[in-house]
Amino acid sequence: MYFEFMNKTKLCAGENALTQLQYECDQYHIKHPLILTDSTLYQLKYVAKITKHLSIPYQLYTDIPVDSSIHVVKDIYHFYQQHQCDGIIALGGGSVLDTAKGVFLMLSQECDSFDEILGFEVMKKGKNIPFFAIPTTSGTGSEATSVAVIHHPQKNVKLEIISQYIQSDVAFLDPCLTIHLPLRVTSATAVDALVHAIEAYTCSGKNIMSDIYASTAISLISQNILKVIEKPKDKEIRSNLALASYIAGGAFSNSMVGIVHAIGHALGAVCHIPHGEAMSMLLIPCMKFNLDTNASLYGEILLYLDKEKYLSTKPEDLADVTISYLSNLLKILHSQTKLPISLNEVLSLKENMDEIAEKALNDGALLVNEKYVYKKDIIDILGGKYGY
């Protein structure tokens, strides 16, 4: 057996993590950073939450859209050079962080074209550009991953870059940034992190290191996901979920994800379903599809979800109980936060089923799903053969 594992990001996690920001800037010789964020976070004064801890001049770019593209990356790349910045601080959700990664790569690789950096482990170590990630949701785990996904509007596909040099230098997980997240977004992003961990634990790329990360993330999420609905302003619970998201990111960045993400990416691209919601709709049907191949690993997951339930369940029932446990969890989240959990809620699903299946089939995530997936299988899942 052979595996590789990479996680170089320094983690500043917990209350007042952002107070360390200036110190870390000094450590990386940053004197004029470019702060990247989106207009919503800017209007909600999230930028002020980080700049109050900075004592150096900075440049601000706030026009990153929800569905960022290679054009935005190139625009920021020129903006960075024009203003002679010397480091990147990305503040936001998955779109902002992935855009920042694209900019970081173009700068560090000193390339003008995005095509030069596309692919899997193509790049050699480039120029040193300090890159700090400050996530404002607890789901994508992008601050910990070696992956960036950026939209190509002309091709209408998400381009994927996988490189060990893409991980942020420092990630700040401060609960002050997630404490005001709406409950529906909170539950959708937490489910996204949970799916990262579950797929990391069960896909073909798993290894002992990613298992440690994935199982820890599953435990942290299961212990905190319902608590956060009851006490959304609790900083410890928010910190735990942010940490779980980071850890799950570290897990799937090394083991990769599987069918839930492959179909989820396609559902997002074609029907514009938010990623976390797509994960909530697809998790159970995809687990049922994978059940004959992954039964043993699904059974093990129950140990991390609910130890008592695991100990009181017959070994042969473990996998089914895991699926039923997760199904109930999603139903609670649906009733309490209006999180969509059924594919029936996707209005344009039927007419787009073939396009979604075709896109999912060409997603790299499908290659590492332990069970081989044909286009017909994806159509069966979308068509409700496995429930929902």
């Binding site: 052979y2 596309l118 692919g119 997603d363 790299g364």
Partner: protein
């Protein structure tokens, strides 16, 4: 010696795929799905390489043009394992045994084609061990071998 064997198998892989484009509708469907010409280069670091051009709706040929997708195996040994049917492309990907330049989404079609060609070119005992799925053969492997030898 390994480099020579890899070069021979790369030739067979290309020729097999070229034949099967016309003889197996699954491969035709996969490659036609690109909807445009595409050049794929398979290369072994410090070893042999082959550039395959897919011409939309026509089939495959060898080329020296710049590739759209380039798969580079990091070592001769790993490439030998893959091309001798001892390791699947999937396993090589999981073990970071190659790098891929270009669009990962577009390369998936080629990966599925390699699996199908291996089904014909390798004994079933071998493919059962390295592939997690069974693909039906619509022609005898010997026929595909013979056609591959005499195709240019």
């Amino acid at each position: 010696m390994k480099k020579i064997i890899i070069w021979i198998i790369l030739q067979f892989l290309y020729r097999g795929m070229k034949v099967l484009y016309h003889d197996d509708k699954r491969i035709r469907h996969e490659l036609d799905g690109w909807n445009q010409d595409k050049i794929i280069k398979l290369k072994v670091l410090n070893g042999p390489s082959i550039s395959i051009k897919y011409t939309y709706l026509h089939g495959l040929s060898q080329t020296k043009q710049k590739p759209d997708i380039e798969i580079i195996f990091k070592s001769v040994d790993t490439a030998f394992f893959v091309f001798m049917g001892m390791m699947s492309v999937k396993q090589a990907y999981l073990e970071h045994r190659f790098i891929l330049k270009g669009d990962i989404f577009e390369s998936m079609r080629f990966v599925r084609c390699v699996d199908l060609v291996e089904t014909y070119l390798f004994p079933s005992l071998m493919t059962k061990r390295i592939l997690n799925h069974h693909e039906k053969k619509y022609h005898f492997s010997l026929l595909i071998y013979l056609k591959a030898i005499f195709t240019f």
